[in-house]
Symmetry: none
């Protein structure tokens, strides 16, 4: 960001701009994602946009980082299971749902950011976020007595991500209940450290 907003009015503008960007990125085809459109949706002038962001890519990066942080926070907010068997299955379902929700909130962001070229800054944020998620999963796997907690966590993370993207691709963001069950089973099995 080019300038930090000092006054309240300025902070509101920045928020409006970021939210407008998120919306347009989520909704529309990439063609309608122009700085003019962002400014109009945010209810400010283009000039204001450029007071706070270096350029369009800077703006997208900021929105992308927020998204990554939010998904990370959602995942982290799922309470880890006890060693007792019953809660592991619930944990697995909660992980799947939380991640899928997070992705759904910014549907399209992914594709657009890829299209605009992933900046190294955003890539780092993403990697940090993934690493945290994997560690957290590994701790669970370890508590459950898995032989290779890190490897199990890696696979589990991949499964969760794939589930989220799969749900996004479905009309209505819904996946048959049986598929959720199956994913949850796999997840629980992985984290429990079964072969």
């Amino acid at each position: 960001m080019r300038k930090r907003p000092r006054q309240r009015r300025a902070r509101e503008s920045v928020e409006a701009i970021l939210e407008a960007t998120r919306q347009l990125l989520t909704e529309g085809p990439i063609e309608s994602f122009s700085t003019d459109a962002i400014a109009e949706r945010a209810g400010v002038s283009v000039g204001t946009l450029y007071q706070y962001f270096e350029d369009k890519a800077d703006l997208v990066r900021e929105v992308g980082e927020r998204h990554v942080r939010e998904v990370g926070a959602l995942l982290a907010s799922v309470a880890a299971p006890d060693a007792s068997d019953g809660s592991l299955r619930r944990y697995a379902v909660a992980l799947l749902e939380a991640t899928a929700e997070g992705h759904a909130r910014d549907r399209g962001l992914h594709a657009t950011i890829l299209g605009l070229g992933l900046t190294s800054s955003l890539r780092r944020t993403l990697e940090r976020s993934e690493a945290r998620a994997r560690e957290s999963l590994a701790r669970v796997a370890e508590a459950q007595g898995a032989a290779d907690p890190a490897m199990a966590a890696g696979l589990a993370y991949d499964l969760i991500e794939r589930f989220a993207h799969k749900r996004l691709a479905e009309p209505g963001d819904t996946v048959p209940e049986s598929v959720v069950e199956r994913y949850a089973d796999e997840l629980a099995r992985l984290l429990a450290g079964e072969t």
Copy 2:
């Protein structure tokens, strides 16, 4: 496509255009992906390009469909395993490698196509291709005596896709051997119908 090429020279032009499109989509940032760049790379003039393709989206769609068909063909070309246990593991590894190769060949296509908006025509092609792949996996699972072959095949397919995307995201398109092993194990287990 607007017009079918009749003469040999014309067919060669069309091939060159499609190949140039594929290359630019695979190599570069979206910015250098212009009709001028395509024509130059293909060694023809822009005018020629518009003789055979309605517009840019039409061209991208065609390339996209080819890509989907190619990945499908690659998957299909992996010989199904015998019921004998040894070949299942080799089959799993081959599936992973084949899909990852297919995706790598057209790296960037994904993002661009998403960015330009997935056309319904391409979406159908994609769905048909996925369905065929799942059926083929289901037949294998059935032969191996899995309890719910369709469900196992679905999960297996997702695992394969995730692996391909994972490899694309790594620098150098390489993934530690241990990860391949782990994925192959899971895949083999799923197709073998173990819980």
Copy 3:
């Protein structure tokens, strides 16, 4: 220049663009010197302009170089005097007039180019042109028997340039005849190698 024009139509466009640029640079204040204005004056679209010139600076450079070459040619076209005394004075007057005419034709170009920043390419062209002019003057001074022909030529050149700029600053591009006389006297004296 970005692309060399092949067809006749293209060459005409390029000429029109260069001439429009020269006119606007000569006439107006720098504010009205926009790419849109250039294109309109040239009777082409902006797009055409960018087919042949990298950017606005490239265009200005090209016009600048033409100007420098033209002034140089004007100077060179003044026939050198015999050693016989009478023609030296006529030569001096001709030099003054020729240079002043050349500058007048592109009045304002100077200031604008300075304002946009003298590119190194243009600077070199300018230096080469000046060097040629000084050499030519030095040969005359030598023929007239000057003690230090190079130094005399340097001062003579400066006098000529100053005269051209002086005339440009006057309303109506005219300078009292007596001033021309005085400059010519000085010039003749310098080239004749008197003290």
Copy 4:
């Protein structure tokens, strides 16, 4: 200027703004010469700038006039020579140096002012300053017994100006000593009224 500053702090702001303008004009390419840049350099806000200056052109004009007055003062501060021969040569060198220094101090001002269009007010200031300088030179020429003091002074003034611009065009603002000598010789000769 829009408003006279009353308080001391206000006067300081105005000075800072004028000095910042002068610096930016002297240093940089025209692009970085924006009101924002001026305000930042001056350590005030843009708003303050517009309290004291009608618009940007007004500010530039004020700086331009100061510059013209300063160069004039520099010239005037060179003590006129006695009729005794020795000091005339020193006087000539001093004139050359003083003017060149004055121009160097505001290098770039020239181009910018020309680019923005010489306002009539500034033009008048400039003419008055030149007239004063010529008169002063004419008095010297007269004291030295020149036949046509006004004409000699005119040429002398032009020589001095050309020298200043010549030095500005050189890298490092330096000119070979021999050139200074030659200019000084000419100047002395002119003012001494030799043919």
